[in-house]
């Protein structure tokens, strides 16, 4: 029961951050700011959802369930490593081919 509440709260928080990340992609002005919204809010959201699933999975406490939860936590850890690496690679590539960043001075009258 308590586990269910904890996992529901975690997954709901994760979905909230997913929604904010998606809104950010739609609202931000240029490529770089959109990468920010896409890459970052989503990594926290994905980790929150994964931890929520891992907690939910502990409902029947057996060795197999604990092992599955540990595997889910490993996925979360790898998301934390791979997500910033991908964000960095995309941003670096965009700068290299010369995508111009949006700046405040240029766009305020």
């Amino acid at each position: 029961m308590i586990l269910n509440i904890v996992s529901i709260v975690l997954i709901a928080l994760g979905l909230f951050f997913f929604a904010v990340g998606t809104l950010g992609i739609l609202r931000f002005p240029d490529f770089y700011t959109r990468v920010q919204a896409a890459g970052k809010c989503d990594s926290l959201a994905a980790v929150l959802v994964l931890i929520g699933i891992a907690v939910y999975n502990l409902g029947d406490l057996s060795l197999a369930a604990v092992l599955v939860s540990i595997k889910i936590l490993f996925i979360a850890a790898f998301v934390f490593i791979s997500s910033p690496t991908a964000t960095h690679a995309i941003t670096d590539a965009a700068l290299l081919i010369g995508v111009k960043p949006w700046t405040k001075e240029k766009n305020t009258p």
Binding site: T33, V35, Q36, G39, K40, L44, H88, D92
Partner: protein, 160 residues
């Protein structure tokens, strides 16, 4: 030494991943972990054996603080995204700054941490200079000599 430690880390990982404890699966694990430990032991652990434990426990104690920082800065970005006059709040800019960190591991940790905290992305590292793209002016100003850098230095470079 590196091979032995790599073998045990790999084997522990194998056991957790497979979840099978019969002789057949365990011996398969022993064989493949021995092969991996023999051929790629220099990837996981390198340098002075004394620094391995420091790296592992340093990162272990650094992670909770990082997670807290990620939560806080995520809330800041959430505020910016949901703000009606969002374009007034953001002021994107590229910043260069020097870091005092020496080990490659701690530089990578710093770069990844900067990218993980919303509002800042590490674009490039050359020697000891980081190129960072920041979403707001305050995010850009807080980068050089940040608490993050000090904590990484304490966690991964303290004893040197």
């Amino acid at each position: 030494m590196a091979k032995v430690v790599t073998f045990f880390v790999m084997f522990a990982f194998w056991v957790v991943m497979s979840g099978m404890f019969d002789a057949f699966h365990l011996s398969l694990g022993v064989v493949s972990c021995l092969l991996i430990a023999h051929f790629s032991h220099s990837l996981l652990l390198y340098g002075d054996p004394k620094s391995w434990g420091r790296g592992f426990f340093g990162i272990l104690f650094y992670l909770p603080w990082l997670f807290w920082e990620i939560l806080i800065s995520n809330l800041q970005v959430t505020y910016i995204v949901l703000h009606p006059r969002m374009l007034d709040l953001i002021d994107p800019q590229l910043v260069r700054f020097k870091t005092s960190l020496k080990r490659p591991l701690s530089k990578v940790t710093l770069a990844q941490s900067i990218t993980l905290t919303p509002g800042t992305v590490t674009v490039d590292i050359e020697e000891d200079e980081l190129l960072v793209y920041a979403l707001t002016a305050s995010g850009a100003e807080s980068l050089p000599g940040s608490a993050m850098e000090r904590r990484i230095a304490a966690a991964l470079e303290g004893g040197k």
